[in-house]
Symmetry: C2
Subunit: 198 residues, 2 copies
Amino acid sequence: MQNRSQQTHQKILDAALVVFARDGYAASSVNDICAEAGVSKGAFFHHFPTKQTLFLELLETWLATLDLQMEAIRQEYQAVPQALIHMAELMGNVYQAAGGYLPVFLEFWTQASHDPAVWQVVIAPYHRYQGYFTSLIQQGIQGGTLKPVDPALVSRTLLALAIGLLLQGVLDPEGADWANQTRQSIELLVISIQQEAA
Amino acid sequence: MQNRSQQTHQKILDAALVVFARDGYAASSVNDICAEAGVSKGAFFHHFPTKQTLFLELLETWLATLDLQMEAIRQEYQAVPQALIHMAELMGNVYQAAGGYLPVFLEFWTQASHDPAVWQVVIAPYHRYQGYFTSLIQQGIQGGTLKPVDPALVSRTLLALAIGLLLQGVLDPEGADWANQTRQSIELLVISIQQEAA
């Protein structure tokens, strides 16, 4: 059971997602979110000092869920090539589960290019994922399942595929089966980097 | 020699690029662009009915230049794998030449997800490039330089790499040599899809 304050907190988060996805982050006001949630501005500012704080909580919740799922895959698939392909399938599910978040996250990303405070916020998870995949590729090389590629270069290539496919999926949701496309794009990359069976 | 009207037109375009790159597209006003260009609002609206018209002219000029360069590469390199790698080098130059446009283009892309009018504008060049690379991959398969892959799937993978690397380059310009990264990421993909020498 949530108490009343937790319910209000969650009600504001749910409303913000609706408003951000509909109008975009930049064009959404605290008033719009309060109207959607049916709460007062006083209640809003009791829970979130700024619109940005609220967005960051949405983002962090989403990334934390993604991290748990990636870790579960890593535990299940010891071979790095198979782990990468199952993570690609997870990305496919992201299209369904987090449809509302994605345009907002991408908008935030582009805002980072001209707002140093936003940049600080976006660069941290970006660097974290870059480090995560660099380390995963290193493990694959050491374990003999991957060729001796440049781990950081392949990590940035993986992130490019993930980001570039998400962006296309946001723009053109009906243009392809993006879950299947993501799996197959990652498989194309894995073909290049995996060690051929001896 | 440009006449005075052409000079004013160009002055507004140059000023818009400065203002968009500095403040973002959504946060930039016609007043800001007029102040930067040193022109009146009357002069602005004589040349551009809306801020969006102006942005579209910037975008179309940039894409037209890119198209000419891609066509020149296609003429020079008949083999599709080599053409793709040289196009990746061209993308590398884009980071230098069009640094100011990129965040604005990405911002526009994300706005497309919640503004049907903007969506119409962004989806057209997206579909054009998707068709261009699908056709290029088909030519490679027919010419025997590429394996019998799904051309549309590989085209979307190429676009994902291009878009995802641009986005990382915008966020973290000092994080890598993005021109070199782009060439090497495309090479990784080409390794998977090229026909092995008989």
